[in-house]
């Protein structure tokens, strides 16, 4: 089952990358990042099962905590961007574009 889990993880990660690259709504892009983190978590769990040690699961806990922190800060940034631009469409947010 390890190889299947790694396969699912790779597919989910790819879907997340596709979402980040193709969508324009900042919130959806953010959710795609969460999906990618989840895919990596699946890899961690599968490989921790392969090695027969729970250290991978500990790392998954860390990843989840950091994801929660990232969601809080990122959504706060999105709210503040929305106040400024009145939209979360990334086409409008090109202040740093060269």
């Amino acid at each position: 089952m390890i190889s299947e889990a790694l396969f699912f993880s790779a597919v989910l990660f790819t879907i997340g990358v596709v979402g980040v690259l193709t969508r324009r709504n900042a919130i959806i892009i953010f959710m795609c990042v969460e999906l990618m983190l989840n895919a990596v978590n699946l890899s961690f769990i599968a490989l921790s099962r392969l090695h027969g040690s729970a250290n991978g699961q500990v790392f998954v806990l860390f990843v989840m905590t950091i994801a929660a922190a990232e969601a809080a800060v990122g959504l706060a940034i999105i709210i503040s961007i929305f106040r400024h631009h009145k939209s979360v469409d990334l086409r409008n947010i090109n202040l740093l574009k060269g």
């Binding site: 919130i27 999906l35 989840n38 699961q57 905590t65 959504l75 709210i79 400024h84």
Partner: protein, 172 residues
Amino acid sequence: MNTLVYTFHFYLFGLIAIASALAFVTRKSPVAAALWLVNTMFCLSALFVMLDAQFIGAVQVLVYAGAIMVVFLFVVMLLNLGQASDVTDIRGLGGRLTAGLVGLAMLAELFALSRLHFPRLVGAMSDHANIVNPVSAPLFQEYLLPFEVTSVVLLVAVVGAVVLAKRGDNVS
């Protein structure tokens, strides 16, 4: 037989997760996308449980599907982004029939599984009597410093979120 059941469900949850992720990426409405992502996370939680990480599976449901996605939906609601036309779309007869069939199939499966002697996972890593101990022992011994640093990170994130989202006086 038991291995077959295990393999079947592993593939089932994996494929549902991938299908939900595809639906999530292709939805226009942020609310629908978020709900599909919740579905993906539930399936991933099932996969975690099947991979002998029961505690992580429970935490996945609590933290990801419970907390993080609620924050996302809250922000969608706060910014008024879930267009009403997209949110309230009720699919046609085909969609409802499919939903009913899937629900019935899952119920039937649940009953069948509750009668079946559920397989003991092949080559189980942890003692099933105690599923938290294998995770918590390294967390509080080997990785104690990262654990403490994580709490500081969370504190910083909370303070940062409040500072960033606060309506300042000099908002342009």
